[in-house]
């Protein structure tokens, strides 16, 4: 059958089972938006393209499906870039469409023209400029395949307006996409896996260091199995939160710059690190030459470029985390007698001591402190909510003082650290999972970076609870200035913050201000009962800091506690 490019766009989205699209229209997208007008795809009209991209990202992180967004040429496309870079750094499957000026005008500095494929080349997994409508269906199918397979990531398709209007033959296809130059290796080499098991059985002070790859591959179950049969303690990265249940005795919490003492000590003293879907980022290793000096390293990852990039690896295993862990667990099981239950007794004792001596803590007085608020949210939701964060101190408190037991329940911009990510991502998360409570744990600075999406929440009746940990400053930067720049608070203190309660009310949403400890519980109860977006303005201690912390340039175990 003969279809226009825009109709093919709709048909291909249906083929990919896309139910929802986030974006903003524009001149060169008129044909596509006309086709969307009566298509069976829900459209969420954002208020800024960055918001649309983060919504698609939040949707993808919670559902595990590809998130889809669309923006017009030029400024629409450039507005999308932060969202693409955020998804790229965290390996989130997304397909982004951008309008483009007509093919005859490309390169002419036409109205609203930008070299979108050029600009986004390094912040996407792959991108396409469609020059001929005949290639459109193939490109869309490839894009979805690339976005979700291997190490996932965002793929962008730039669609000139004339291609949207041009007509060509279209037939639907159920065929698997084949790309000769792209064949991700998912299985994991059996010989390497056997070697790994041998090394694991001999280790005396092993640690599993799990990252976002575990969540992305759906390998949490397998991770838990591995830890339980080998009795090896587990620490996770920020991206790995929820990939291992926090209630397990084997859990060490997060490692790295704001990690727990015991996770960082365990890493530094370990004789074997089993890295699973993690990448030895600089926030994890701290001073790299002093990182885990006695440890051998097994590294499991789908992306060969992640292996051996920052640290020398003894046993690399390229493959999908879930697949590899399955095989690894089978092998461990076959050699059960090498993994006696109490063989790591001494190591467990040591860790227990570290945990007892250095628990996560904060000052418990009558002041309204963010850590207390997070604990109350945990109690009010029984740990079942989806927690999305902004960036800064709020992000770290959200990580430290809420406990994560399930994958895909903690969403944060880990790699890029994008302020303004949280609120739109929370909207996307709520759409993916309407039956769950969704919280955006926000800073007053970050929230203002995409605060306009309150209108999107209002228009679409999406219920997100925004917890503004309002310290009237760019807290995380202020903290560094306090600790390392003699409290010279250069450009970090706000005056002129809006009244967030009134802002919410202006959008016909709800707002509550909380200034005292005893108001926290009732406010949360009220917000949960409301079933529409609520902004909770918590006026917290301005000079509260995030501890523990490992300052820049020192080894991972030279950790500052903060509390004397």
């Amino acid at each position: 059958m003969k279809l226009t490019g825009s109709q093919i766009f709709v048909e291909c989205l249906k083929e990919q089972k896309v139910e929802i699209l986030f974006g903003i229209p524009g001149g060169v997208l008129l044909p596509i938006f006309d086709a969307l007008y009566d298509a069976p795809i829900k459209f969420i009209l954002a208020r800024h393209e960055q918001g649309a991209a983060h919504m698609a990202d939040g949707y993808a992180r919670v559902s595990g499906e590809v998130g889809v967004c669309i923006a017009t040429s030029g400024p629409g496309a450039t507005n999308l870039t932060t969202g693409l870079a955020t998804a790229h750094m965290d390996s989130i499957p997304m397909v982004a469409f951008t309008g483009q000026v007509a093919t005859s005008l490309i390169g002419n500095d036409a109205f609203q023209e930008a070299d979108t494929t050029g600009i986004t080349r390094s912040i996407t997994k792959h991108n396409y400029l469609v020059k001929d409508v005949k290639n459109l269906a193939k490109i869309i199918r490839e894009a979805f395949y690339i976005a979700r397979s291997g190490r996932p990531g965002p793929v962008l398709i730039d669609l000139p307006v004339d291609v949207q209007k041009a007509v060509t033959e279209f037939s639907s296809s159920g065929k698997k996409v084949e790309i000769r130059s792209y064949k991700p290796n998912c299985s994991g080499h059996l010989q390497q896996i056997k070697k790994a098991v041998e090394l694991i059985s001999k280790s005396k002070q092993p640690v599993i260091y799990a990252g976002g790859g575990v969540v992305l591959s759906g390998g949490s179950e397998q991770l838990r199995e591995l830890a339980e049969i080998t009795q090896i303690p587990v620490t996770t990265t920020l991206m790995g939160m929820g990939s291992f249940p926090s209630y397990s005795e084997l859990f060490l919490g997060m490692l790295g710059m704001h990690g727990t003492h015991y996770a960082n000590f365990a890493m530094q003293q370990s004789d074997l690190i089993i890295a699973v879907g993690s990448r030895f980022d600089d926030r994890i290793t701290a001073k790299i030459d002093a990182f885990a000096p006695h440890a051998k390293i097994i590294h499991i990852d789908i992306d060969p470029t992640s292996i051996g990039k920052n640290v020398k690896v003894d046993i690399p295993i390229v493959g999908d985390v879930k697949n590899v862990l399955k095989k690894l667990n089978e092998t461990v099981f076959q050699e059960k007698d090498k993994f006696r239950k109490n063989r790591l007794e001494k190591w467990h004792e040591q860790i227990k001591k570290w945990k007892e001596n250095n628990p996560l803590k904060y000052k418990e007085d009558d002041k309204l402190r963010p850590q207390f608020i997070m604990e109350k949210i945990y109690e009010a939701t029984k740990g079942k909510a989806i927690i999305v964060t902004e960036v800064g101190q709020n992000q770290m408190w959200a990580q430290q003082f809420y406990k994560y037991d399930y994958p895909r329940h903690f969403l944060t911009s880990g790699g890029l650290g994008t302020m303004g990510y949280g609120f739109p991502a929370a909207i996307g998360a709520k759409i993916a999972c309407p039956e769950k409570l969704v919280f955006d744990i926000a800073g007053d600075g970050s929230f203002q970076m995409n605060i306009q999406e309150l209108a999107t929440a209002a228009q679409n009746k999406i219920a997100v609870i925004v917890v503004v940990l309002n310290n009237n400053c760019l807290g995380m930067v202020r903290q560094w200035q306090e600790l390392f720049y003699e409290k010279r608070y250069s450009a970090t203190v706000f005056s002129g913050n809006p009244d967030f309660v009134k802002v919410a009310e202006a959008y016909n949403l709800e707002g509550l201000r909380i200034t005292k400890k005893e108001e926290v519980e009732p406010a949360l109860e009220k917000a949960i009962a409301m079933k529409k977006t609520v902004v909770l303005d918590f006026n917290i201690e301005k000079e509260e800091n995030v501890f523990p912390m490992v300052p820049a340039g020192v080894p991972l175990d030279e950790i500052i506690s903060g509390l004397a």
């Binding site: 494929t117 080349r121 390094s122 997994k125 130059s181 792209y182 992306d303 470029t305």
Partner: protein
């Protein structure tokens, strides 16, 4: 260590930019890069000469492989192969120097491909050493312009840098 890397890529627009971007974004230096079509018009072949220690090179190879449009990457370090570079040199020449320059060209088996009252263009293919030797010999006569294609390389015998199906 100097490595000659041969990369087979999809013959599409934008691929060169991806590869160049990969090198610049990661701060890898390229000595030379050449691109052309192959026996299969849907595939282009790039020869990239890079310098760096083993770890950097391993990262380069992996990053190249990761690009969606890259079909195959081979490092020729331990492969028996031939390398060629083509150079064109426009050198100043007058009646008193012309014959001496021609003699030098002759010794190097280089070709004269253009003559004018004041210049000669000399063309030669060879490996890096030979080309550098020729340049050195011509420098005293004043080189006006110099252009090189960059190295291309091919493995000897039946060793193939092709995609196996």
């Amino acid at each position: 260590m100097r490595h000659t890397i041969v990369v087979l890529v999809e013959n599409k627009s934008g691929v060169l930019a991806r590869i160049a971007g990969l090198f610049s974004a990661r701060g890898f230096n390229i000595d030379s890069l050449s691109v052309g079509e192959t026996e299969d018009f849907t595939i282009s072949r790039m020869t990239i000469v890079v310098r760096g220690d083993e770890q950097i090179l391993e990262q380069v190879m992996k990053q190249l492989n990761k690009l969606i449009d890259v079909i195959k990457v081979s490092d020729f370090l331990n492969v028996r192969h031939v390398e060629r570079d083509l150079v064109m040199i426009k050198v100043k020449a007058n009646s008193s120097t012309r014959s001496e320059i021609l003699q030098i060209a002759d010794i190097f088996r280089a070709k004269i491909i253009d003559v004018s009252a004041k210049t000669l263009i000399i063309e030669m293919t060879g490996n890096k050493d030979k080309i550098e030797a020729l340049i050195k010999m011509l420098q005293p006569f004043e080189i006006e312009e110099l252009a090189r294609t960059g190295i291309i390389a091919m493995s000897r015998g039946m060793n193939k840098t092709k995609i196996e199906n």
